[in-house]
Symmetry: C2
Subunit: 343 residues, 2 copies
C-alpha cells in the first residue's frame, strides 16, 4: 500500500512531515511512501530511505492561496502531483498538512468523488472527554467542506460516517445523531427538520435523534452528522473555548506567585491527562469522505506525533478497505439518492 | 420605573426570584415591582413589601410546554399577564426565568415589535475571557430567537446591538463583527457574503469584518452579529466545552489522591478567578431586542445573584432609554429597511 505524501505542506514542512513519515514507516511494514516536493529540501532530512521515494516537484501552493485557482495553475506543485498520482492508481491515498482548501479541491477535482456521492464531507474524529465514557472518540462530519448543504448531502454523510466508525474505529452499529439546535424531533430550520425525518426513515441507520453542540464532547453519539456550516461553527467554538480555558489556567498560574506554581506542580498529572483527553492530534487528521481514495489533511501546525498518527489512521482505512465498502454500498443502494425529493 | 416580574418562572421559583428582586429593590430606589403569580406561594417569601406588589395569577406555563400554544391558551398565567401589563403601559419592562419559548412568544405577540423591526433578536452579553483584555464583555445576537434569518434581520441586529453596547455597556463607537466561517470578506454562504457587504456599506456602523466562532471570547469585537442558527450553535458549543473542561479538572482532582487535592487548594484562587471570568450570571439575562419594552429572560437555573444582576441590567436599559433611542432610529431611518433587496 502506497501513500502519496505532500512533503512541502504544513508550518514545519518538510522537516516534521519527513520525521512523522519515517516513524510511521518503521511502525507499518506494509506501507510505502512517495514524497512529493523539492528534493534538495527533502533528501538531507531523510534518515533511512527504506520504502521512501522522492518525486520531485518545482512549484508550491502556499497557505494563503485561493485553492481552486492554485490547483488549476500550479500543475507541478506537490499537492497537485500527489493527488494526480492517486487518481492514476500510482498511490492508494493522499496525505497533506498544507493549504486546506487546496487539498480539498485537489481531492474533489483530481482524485474524484465516488459515483453517487453528491458532496464529499470533511470528517474529523473528535475526543469524547467525559470521564468514564465507554468510548474515546466520535466521528463528526461535514466539518466545513460545504458552506451550503441539502438533505441528500446529510443523509450521505450519515452513511459515510457510519462506515468510517465501523471500519476504522471498530464500532459496532454506531449511534448516529443529527447536530441540531434542540433535542426534540420538531426542532431546527426547514433543512434539519427534513433531515431528521429522512435519517429516522432508514432501517440500516441506528439513528438516535438530535444532538446539541453543547453535548458534542459528552459521548452521546458515535457519529454526529451536520451541514458543513453548523459543524464548522460548533467545532471552532469548541476548540476556541478549550484553548481559552487553558490560557486562563496558564495565566492564573504565571501570575499567582509561588503558591500557584506549587499548586501547578502538584496538579501537573491532572493537567497532563486533560491535555491528552482534549488533544486532537491523537485522533489523526481530517478525512474528505466520499472520494475514490483516502484524502487526509492534518493541521498545518501538526507535530511529528500528529503526522505519525494520521499515517496510522490512513493505514487502518486502507487495511479495512473503507473505500471499497463505501463504493459497494452506493452502487448497491442508489435509492439513498432517489429517496430524496429536494436538490 | 416599574418591572413586571414573572414570579413563578425558573427552577427555584418563586423563592430565588423573590430574593433576587428584594436585593435589587434595595439597590435601586427608583424601581418598583409587580410580582405576577400565586399569592399563597409568593406572600410568605416576601421579607419587606416596600415597592413590591403581588398581582395574582391562577395558571402556570411549565418548562416543557409548546410556547405559542401556551401563551394563547393560558391567559391567566404569570407570563401572559405580566407581558400584557407591559403592553398596556402598566409596567415598563418584563422579566422572567421561565419557559424561554413562551417568554419570547409573549414578547413578540403581546409586548410587540418596534415599528420597522422585522424580527427581534435574542441578545446575550458574554464574557471576554482573554487575560488583559481592555473590555470584559461583548454583545451577541441573535442567539436563537430565529432559526432562519434574512439579510435585513442581520443588518437590524447590528443596530440593535450597537445601541445596546452604547447605552447599557457604555461603549463608545462599538466595533461590530459578523460571525462567519472565515475571516476574509468572501467567506461564508450566500447569506453571510451578502450581509458582509451590507454591513460594510453602512457609514454609521463601525464594522470590522468577520469573526470566527473560535474567537468569540477573545474580545475582538464589542458586538457580534449573527443569524440565530449559527450563534446558537456556537454559544452552546462554547458553554458545553467550558463546562466539560471544568468537569475534567474536578474529576482529575477528585481522583488524583492527596497530591491533587493539595494542588487544588493552592490553585483555588486561580480557579475562582476563572470561574468568575466565565460566569455568565454576572452579565445578566438574555434580552429580546427590537420589542417596544425590555423583555429579559434569565436561565431557569439562575440563582439570586443572577436575578439581582439581571434586574440591574433592566434598570440600566430603562435609565438609558434604550427603547426610545431604538424607536427614534428606526423611525428616522426607514432606509435601513429599504436598502435590502431580499425578504
Amino acid at each position: 500500500m502506497k501513500i502519496a505524501v505532500d512533503a512541502m505542506g504544513g508550518d514545519n514542512a518538510p522537516k516534521v512531515v519527513i520525521e512523522g513519515v519515517e516513524q510511521a514507516r518503521d511502525l507499518y511494514p506494509d506501507l510505502e511512501f512517495d514524497l512529493y516536493g523539492n528534493p534538495d529540501a527533502i533528501k538531507p532530512l531523510i534518515k533511512n530511505d527504506q520504502r521512501l521515494h522522492i518525486i520531485p516537484t518545482t512549484d508550491d501552493i502556499t497557505m494563503g492561496e485561493e485553492p481552486v485557482r492554485a490547483i488549476r495553475h500550479k500543475k507541478d506543485s506537490s499537492i497537485v502531483k500527489a493527488a494526480t498520482a492517486v487518481k492514476n492508481g500510482e498511490a492508494d491515498a493522499f496525505f497533506s498538512a498544507g493549504n486546506t482548501g487546496a487539498v480539498l479541491a485537489a481531492g474533489i477535482f483530481i482524485v474524484g468523488r465516488i459515483k453517487g456521492i453528491a458532496r464529499p464531507g470533511l470528517t474529523s474524529v473528535l475526543p469524547i472527554a467525559k470521564p468514564g465514557a465507554s468510548r474515546h472518540s466520535f466521528v463528526y462530519l461535514d466539518t466545513g467542506a460545504n458552506a451550503e448543504s441539502k438533505e441528500k448531502n446529510l443523509l450521505q454523510y450519515a452513511y459515510l460516517g457510519k462506515f468510517y466508525s465501523e471500519s476504522v474505529l471498530g464500532v459496532e452499529n454506531p449511534r448516529i445523531a443529527l447536530l441540531n439546535n434542540g433535542a426534540e424531533e420538531d426542532k431546527g430550520d426547514t433543512l434539519h427538520k427534513a433531515v431528521w425525518q429522512l435519517l429516522n426513515a432508514q432501517d440500516d441507520l441506528n439513528f438516535i435523534g438530535n444532538i446539541e453542540s453543547g453535548d458534542l464532547l459528552y459521548g452521546k453519539a458515535d457519529v454526529v452528522v451536520s451541514d458543513g456550516w453548523t459543524a464548522n461553527a460548533a467545532l471552532k467554538a469548541t476548540e476556541g473555548t478549550a484553548k481559552m480555558m487553558l490560557t486562563l489556567i496558564r495565566h492564573g498560574i504565571m501570575n499567582g506567585g509561588l503558591r500557584a506554581k506549587l499548586g501547578y506542580l502538584l496538579l501537573k498529572p491532572v493537567f497532563h491527562k486533560i491535555g491528552q483527553a482534549m488533544n486532537t492530534s491523537t485522533y489523526g487528521g481530517a478525512v474528505l469522505l466520499g472520494l475514490k481514495a483516502p484524502v487526509v489533511k492534518t493541521h498545518g501546525a501538526s507535530d511529528v506525533l500528529a503526522i505519525k498518527n494520521t499515517i496510522g489512521q490512513i493505514h487502518t482505512m486502507l487495511k479495512a478497505d473503507l473505500i471499497g465498502k463505501t463504493v459497494d454500498f452506493f452502487t448497491d443502494n442508489p435509492e439513498v439518492d432517489k429517496s430524496v425529493k429536494s436538490e
